[in-house]
Symmetry: C2
Subunit: 158 residues, 2 copies
């Protein structure tokens, strides 16, 4: 952003508007989870439990996404182990194309709609045009990896 | 692990030994960082800064790994943006083969040697046979994705 002379009477909101909607404070308050796609959920849970003493905090079938997930607690974040519950779910296609591995990263945000709007305002492509229900009673939205340096990003509001 | 009758006089250490070196407490104390491999470090930093108001906390060229990294702070964790500094570095080969995206996940541990030993004791393949210096003055070791459900895992001791 070019350095320009500023009107000292300009308010924060005016300054933000002049910057074309750029955010001024950090929107990402926590790595909510890192999602790992696996073929065998039980075996993956055993691996993290036996090797690292990880603790299962939550388990849920998310019908709308065609997955079963297990959350392992790591401080304020989670490792999310994901496996498809149907052959045509996005995670099933991911496993077929790329094999097991890190599927997406999710950031916790105070307001999913605000963060999603910032993505759009900055020219980012989105997968979910509006926030929608996620697992654990959260509100989520996915951002397209195309304009996010190859990374599938999920925004999570608790 | 099968449920067996326990000697009530058995100590924690004896119990652990009887379990074949399985850990009893959580070894992973924090998601240290999620590493994202990119072609253009400056453009990626701008993306996170402009879209999410992310703050650059650290920048370092790690000659031994052939990468330049930028750390963006997210609570107690980081997003690590990585770009190769030479054509034959592992990250350069990764970008060539798979394109931009999430490269590895790093967990903070109290003792890198202890966590690495637990991986070996549980039959996991490792990339670093012993802890070695990482960026920011840390001590690190990488675990092979082959026995970790396709995920390249780094253990980080601060």
């Amino acid at each position: 952003m070019p350095v320009t002379a500023r009107d000292p009477h300009e308010t924060d909101a005016e300054r933000e508007a002049a910057q074309g909607g750029q955010v001024t404070g950090p929107l990402l308050t926590e790595i909510d989870h890192v999602a790992i796609a696996v073929h065998d959920l039980g075996a993956a849970v055993d691996y993290y439990r036996e090797t690292f003493g990880a603790v299962v905090e939550h388990r849920e079938v998310v019908e709308s996404d065609g997955v079963e997930e297990v959350l392992l607690a790591v401080a304020e974040s989670y490792v999310q182990l994901l496996t498809p519950t149907s052959d045509d779910s996005p995670v099933a296609r991911y496993l077929e194309r790329k094999g097991e591995g890190i599927h997406h990263i999710a950031y916790r945000v105070a307001d999913c709609a605000v963060a999603l709007q910032s993505v759009k305002d900055n020219g980012g492509r989105v997968i979910d045009d509006a926030p929608r229900p996620g697992s654990r009673g959260t509100t989520v939205a996915f951002i397209h990896p195309k304009t996010a340096f190859g990374t599938l990003i999920e925004l999570v509001e608790e």
